[in-house]
Symmetry: C2
Subunit: 294 residues, 2 copies
């Protein structure tokens, strides 16, 4: 049985400073019943989450993940999370993680139907072995995300910048990619603007220039992408946010899908167009991502 761990935060969103947050954490058996059937997360995907990579007990980029949790909460009209409480919970869970790579998930649900407060819990598990995924290239298919590039600003109720628990479409897109013989998907708008993968950000390299789609274009602002951009700039590279049209995908000199647990996975093809996998740069990016980062 693979190692897993879970704790429930109760109560959440308490604003009291100096509270002994540990007293609000209750360790639960990950495989035993812990949530009631009235949970809105189960009935309506009504809540938000974050996935944080852990390397040898160090939770990576906790600050940016917590900032995004707060941003998602605001977009979804959830009470502002008490970030100190969440940070303490992550520290407790990370301290339990075995050596090697793990994943911590933060979940903030709207709570019990008609209940007074949200429900929150944090889980940890050993990460799948992504060694091969970080070396061999992914075959990626572009999939229409249904909306045009104006939708995120025009219709904020579509929650396009929030990391909600309503991930059924993201999961369906990955199944569609597999059905087409590919490994993963890349969402694009109806007007041909590149968005993100179902569980990743995309980074493209043109010459010595690294680009990624503008945050705010209906995508999440990727924590791993942000960290890599800071790293690339430290190394003297140009790394920029740009609107990327689909016809530029095949012209990239290299590309990666990046996320908190899989890290940087090189792209070997977008649809029918092959891309070179830059093994050296990929190895260097993953070496950086595997070092402790805050």
């Amino acid at each position: 049985m693979t190692w897993r761990y879970a704790l429930i935060i109760d109560p959440v969103a308490t604003d009291v400073r100096g509270t002994d947050h540990a007293a609000t954490f209750r360790v639960v058996d990950p495989s035993a019943p812990a949530l009631s059937i009235g949970e809105l997360s189960t009935q309506r995907g009504d809540g938000i989450f974050e996935s944080i990579g852990v390397v040898d007990g160090h939770a990576q980029e906790v600050g940016p993940h917590l900032e995004r949790l707060a941003h998602s909460a605001a977009l979804c009209d959830l009470p502002a999370p008490n970030l100190d409480q969440w940070r303490d919970a992550v520290a407790v869970v990370a301290s339990q993680c075995p050596p090697g790579e793990c994943v911590i998930k933060l979940i903030l649900s709207r709570g019990i139907e008609h209940g007074p407060t949200p429900t929150a819990w944090v889980t940890a598990a050993v990460a799948p072995d992504n060694t091969a995924v970080r070396e061999r290239g992914l075959r990626v298919v572009t999939l229409d995300r249904g909306f045009d590039s104006g939708a995120p600003v025009r219709a904020p109720w579509l929650l396009l910048g929030a990391k909600t628990l309503s991930y059924a479409v993201n999961m369906a897109a990955i199944r569609e990619a597999r059905r087409r013989g590919a490994d993963d998907a890349l969402f694009v708008t109806t007007d041909g603007v590149v968005l993100e993968g179902p569980t990743s950000s995309v980074i493209l390299r043109f010459g010595d220039r690294y680009i990624t789609p503008e945050p705010g274009a209906g995508i999440l602002h990727g924590t791993t992408q942000m960290s890599l951009f800071a790293h690339l700039r430290d190394l003297g590279h140009d790394a920029a946010y740009e609107t990327v049209h689909t016809d530029r995908l095949g012209e990239a000199d290299a590309a990666w899908l990046v996320s908190s647990v899989r890290l940087a996975a090189p792209v070997a093809a977008f649809d029918d167009v092959s891309l070179a996998v830059d093994a050296d740069v990929t190895a260097s990016l993953n070496a950086y991502l595997l070092r402790p980062r805050d």
Copy 2:
């Protein structure tokens, strides 16, 4: 404390004919822990559901609800539900319902992460008192659903005809409607085609003709709408599926948002255009919907 009831179906999707399905039902306390934190319904809204109205212990339109559950399962690549098993579960739960109106929910989740089988449960609760909602008119705002009318056929991975647990956008749309001082929302496509409410179908009356948007246009095929159309045709009315453009909304002689629990709620306004509430027809429709139906 309002009455609630719940049972878990375990195992689900067993194909064995003549199985004693009752042996697969386990009654659980609705407010006690019953689901593990590894449930994909909680983490990704990855599953499907149905809400069934119950009147004096009679579950309404169980057949059409089960057919739609099977349709949603197919769209989401979930194992085909064993409809006999679900029907028996609904019967058990309905037999526990107190007199008056209740709601039964069927939930089929993809199950535990990396687990072998889906998770399924059925809940029941006393329905909210919808008497007033069925008489006074709802103020309804139209909200852009983000996609155009071609998206459902072009991009089936958007799961637009499936009743999935990923309902965060539906809930956000209702909050947006309330923020605008309205009672409910009506989704429309970017090219101005009327879809459905976040938790309802829309029926419009022009003269003696009742129309509703085409199923397959990125909406659910409403069980209450179907039942009402059969009833209206029995009464000699014309009831038809049509593509409805938003500019026709204000020209309707009457309109209703219809759903399994709220039943037929008359519309008093679409955006800034007032509609007459036809109290007699509305009362007649709801009298029909409150009679036992199979």
